[in-house]
Symmetry: C2
Subunit: 347 residues, 2 copies
Amino acid sequence: MPSLISHFSVPLAIAAVLSLASGASSDEAIAIDDVGGFHVGGKAVVLEGMPIEEQTFTNGMKPIKVDPNGTFVTGQMYVGYVKLAEPVSDYPILMWHGGGMTGATWQDKPDGGAGWEKYFLKSGYSTYVSDAVERGRSSWSQFPEIYSSDPVFRTLEDAWGAFRIGPEGGWNADPAKRDAFANTEFPTEAFVQFSKQFVPRWLTNDDAIQAAYDELVSMVCPCIVMAHSQGGNFAYNAALNNPELVRAVVLIEPSGAPNPGNADAAKLREIPHLVVWGDNIAQHPVWPRLTEASRNWHDAINDAGGHFDWLDLPVAGITGNSHFPMMDKNSDDIAALMVGWIQATVN
Amino acid sequence: MPSLISHFSVPLAIAAVLSLASGASSDEAIAIDDVGGFHVGGKAVVLEGMPIEEQTFTNGMKPIKVDPNGTFVTGQMYVGYVKLAEPVSDYPILMWHGGGMTGATWQDKPDGGAGWEKYFLKSGYSTYVSDAVERGRSSWSQFPEIYSSDPVFRTLEDAWGAFRIGPEGGWNADPAKRDAFANTEFPTEAFVQFSKQFVPRWLTNDDAIQAAYDELVSMVCPCIVMAHSQGGNFAYNAALNNPELVRAVVLIEPSGAPNPGNADAAKLREIPHLVVWGDNIAQHPVWPRLTEASRNWHDAINDAGGHFDWLDLPVAGITGNSHFPMMDKNSDDIAALMVGWIQATVN
């Protein structure tokens, strides 16, 4: 029987929402020191033995010969950053998206509202928004020559159920016919706009993704790591791999976690963890099972004397959140809870 | 014989470099109003008839069934933006990268120096840095089911010559054995780091790319469009498609241009154009031919009474620039010339 005890004070957090709301939503200018993007990690590989082709690169120009053989870099990761001139914390927030997504997860919402990158900047935290290896500006590599499997593309039909906007099979091209959960906070009319963020993924690159995240942590931390869905397992492991550099782990619906039988939870005794869960998990055939890994890791860390808070939003009275609370209509409220927790917990 | 007359005053520009250098390189904080990213364009497509597969999404979890059939969005484009609190111009700069690249082109240089996004922000211009359709955070689609061709991956060997770091065949894995042009401003020791920005491209998506750029222009302009290499042809056409919204076109080594026989240059009479060329073009087997399209379009616009400036950097006494002047050691100097031209030309 997993422990249901939480170190997290929901009343404290709700108070934080109220005290922070004006600051994070103000129209005041943000003073930044630096903005840009760079790549970390990766290694050179050489491909040989493929035939030369002729291809036309610019309309109206003659074709030129293209030799696909040669040297390529694979496994690198793109990181965009915004550094505040006067952050409230010495620790920037590293924002790691989920599977089949990119750093766009943290930017504008599909209904046009402000995303969490901006919310956390306005709350005083510098941000590093990366694209996992193989996705977005990180680039991807030839398959099967370099990646050992084919890419996976997510359908809108699958996403509707998997992301708990509504029951499986509830998607319909006609917005009036979409079957959403009655209490959903997701802007269902903006679901196609949301799906523009989807990118292909592979299921065989976890080691390269973890290596790039670990290299980023070594480069820019001490920091707070915030991760969503598939990013959660990488964040848990980043803390295990560099416990002296990760000062807090904030997880939104992590899809996996280290196994306490293989990993030493005691290494994380000094690193506060928070996990946030949305609504309607029991309505989905897979999500109840996916939460178990984090529950076991939560128990292991707390049993070792650590501090892992478990925030089940519906239990706290906040209902209707999907798998993407950063896209939901009440996204600012959830972000404010997280800021409140960080301010109360991270030294 | 093409005209060699230029409306652009190089001495004026050099003066601008000197007057602007302190402003754009200062350590003062940048006051921003807004930062984020969104997607424009795209359309839903439905794929049918492919077999269902079983795949494992998270290490240690049981495989689940994946149905590749269903609805996908294709043709969308990602746009990141930084809006200044007090821009010097009403017109933001839209920055469009070249082939096989993403918006990372405009961010940190491979040697760690500041890129042009930051330079133009510090010079007082808000920026929109996009990833062309099929690249970066814009995502890409199944081939051959949605895209009609295979992707093309650029080797480091090819890039070394094509980007005019040195002669073709000059790349070597050993930095000490790389054959670079004697006067190159490219940081050759950072070439592998630079190559981490490369992404696969397709040669059959030009119409979708142009449509997304045109939609962006309709959404956020009036503006200045700045484009590199393959992006140049899209920028030329964006001005033709929305001449009332594009207030200037700034091109860096455009690889193509509209054909004056098919396109009406007179529509662009009121839109100043600047093209910037680097060094060692005559040393390359293809680049002299690629410049001809822009030369013809330059002549057609000026013959129609327009204002198209042709800045050949070596002719102006600035030598050693590669195909990527925004990566070169003297990138700030080139950016300052462009800022000077914008300030002198755009009302």
